[in-house]
């Protein structure tokens, strides 16, 4: 999020909407193409890979296992540990620093909180579940794509959950609400609102917002997200079913 006013001063804001279409030709409520593959990493308890537009993200799950160091244990339920990180070669710009920065630490935290809601943690007191999200290539919306991927990775691990969350963001440029911002849109839009939803009850599990939106826009944004969520949920389910169905098809 750049903040439009600030950019005005430089006189350098690119026009994000041309002839009623976005720069990459999408309609306002259109997501980028999404491809999800469940599994793939042998050592992890669960894993998944996503290509969401130009984002390429791996997620893996380890555990549940004994929480260490011991003082991190909760005698009532499993603790979730989450690390979101971006590869130093992930952006089109310069080489990044390795190791999590303040942004990555915050994203790790809000991602963890999404899954604290849905994982049935009471089944595994004293244990920990580790969720790793590695952004190999980034083009805006990596936290949402990371959460969507981690949900699939968790499902492949057999860790019980009450829901299969997805996430996507909605933003605003000029008077238009736009779904699923890419990097360029994210940099120059007037608002950005990433949201994670538990589709079973449409419960809001992650909500962040930055910029300027009216109440009406927030609510309209939420319905755009839920509509997109039907597609994302469908892709998550297909990805989870695919490895099993391909083996079943072999013996039809």
């Amino acid at each position: 999020m750049g903040g439009a006013g600030e950019m005005n001063a430089t006189g350098n804001i690119p026009e994000l909407i041309v002839n009623g279409k976005r720069l990459d030709g999408r309609a306002f409520d259109e997501m980028r193409p999404i491809k999800i593959v469940a599994g793939g990493l042998k050592n992890a308890a669960g894993s998944a890979y996503i290509e969401w537009g130009n984002n390429k993200i791996l997620a893996a799950v380890y555990g549940p296992k004994e929480a260490l160091p011991k003082h991190t244990q909760d005698p009532e339920k499993a603790v979730i540990k989450c690390r979101y990180s971006m590869a130093p070669f992930s952006s089109l710009e310069e080489h990044g620093r390795s190791g999590p920065n303040r942004r990555a630490i915050e994203i790790s935290k809000v991602t963890r909180e999404v899954f604290e809601n849905v994982i049935i943690r009471e089944d595994f007191p004293g244990s920990e579940i580790d969720i790793y999200v590695e952004v190999l290539q980034s083009d805006g919306g990596t936290r949402a794509a990371g959460i969507t991927t981690a949900a699939v990775a968790l499902a492949t691990s057999g860790i019980p959950m009450t829901d299969l969350p997805y996430a996507v963001s909605v933003g605003k440029t000029g008077e238009h609400l736009i779904l699923d911002l890419n990097k360029a849109e994210d940099n120059y839009s007037d608002a950005d609102m990433p949201v994670a939803i538990g589709p079973r009850n449409d419960s809001i599990l992650l909500l962040q917002m930055d910029g300027t939106l009216t109440k009406e826009e927030v609510m309209r944004g939420m319905s755009m997200i839920k509509k997109a969520g039907q597609t994302i949920t469908k892709l998550q389910k297909e990805a989870l079913r695919a490895p099993y169905e391909s083996i079943m098809d072999r013996y039809k």
């Binding site: 669960g46 555990g63 549940p64 296992k65 004994e66 005698p75 499993a78 849905v118 049935i120 089944d123 595994f124 007191p125 004293g126 244990s127 968790l154 499902a155 492949t156 691990s157 057999g158 860790i159 019980p160 959950m161 009450t162 829901d163 299969l164 538990g198 589709p199 079973r200 998550q236 389910k237 989870l240 079913r241 099993y244 169905e245 083996i247 079943m248 072999r250 013996y251």
Partner: protein, 205 residues
């Protein structure tokens, strides 16, 4: 009708008690990736963890040999323990054992009994949700592997397989094929074909 379901997916618009399902309001939902058999109201996990139950046979590794008890690693968040005075021979760190779950105490520690030490052999972990299929109805599948490979095979409910002697490579191949194809029909026949004619119980002996 049966279908593949994911965590949070609606199974029934009425409350049905079932393993790996949960009830909220008047609905029943899945907690796992599994196959839901609607008529039977049964959810068979495709991916699932091991929840220890009394009587389960497990394969563990001695992690720590203390004076009065052994800590046993069970490929699980649940820790295993064996009270030393119930064991005839002293166990050592790194020993592989087969044992039976005696009880699960209030701290979710799995108390084991009747440990048998497994010497040498090959050990590997598989997803616990695949274990029932490796064993088969009335042990049919595991017996088939035994007969077809002449290997000694032990299967732990905690998602662990131990093999020794005979054709270990073939036995491993059979187990991994069962793991991959656990959710398909006609698997027994395909494993039979893989193992060859010796895998069938001999008639009249």
């Amino acid at each position: 009708m049966s279908r593949i379901v994911v965590p949070g997916e609606l199974l029934a618009d009425k409350p049905i008690r079932m393993e790996a399902g949960f009830i909220e309001g008047n609905n029943t939902y899945s907690t796992l990736l599994g196959i839901y058999h609607e008529e039977k109201g049964v959810l068979v996990p495709l991916e699932g963890l091991w929840y220890p139950q009394r009587g389960d046979i497990v394969i563990g590794i001695v992690e720590e040999a203390r004076l009065n008890a052994y800590n046993i690693e069970l490929n699980s968040p649940y820790k295993g323990i064996i009270i030393a005075k119930f064991v005839e021979t002293r166990l050592q760190r790194g020993d592989v054992i087969e044992a039976e779950v005696k009880e699960i105490d209030e701290t979710k520690t799995v108390v084991l009994m009747r440990p048998k030490k497994l010497f040498g052999g090959k050990i590997f972990d598989v997803k616990p949700s695949k274990i029932p299929r490796i064993i088969g109805k009335q042990n049919t599948m595991v017996d088939q592997i035994r007969n077809g490979t002449k290997s000694v095979i032990m299967v732990g409910m905690n998602g662990r397989v131990w093999l020794k002697g005979g054709n270990v490579a073939l036995a491993t191949e059979a187990v991994l094929k069962i793991v991959e194809e656990a959710h398909t029909t006609g698997l027994t026949e395909r494993i039979k074909a893989l193992l060859g004619p010796q895998s069938q119980p001999q008639q009249g002996v």
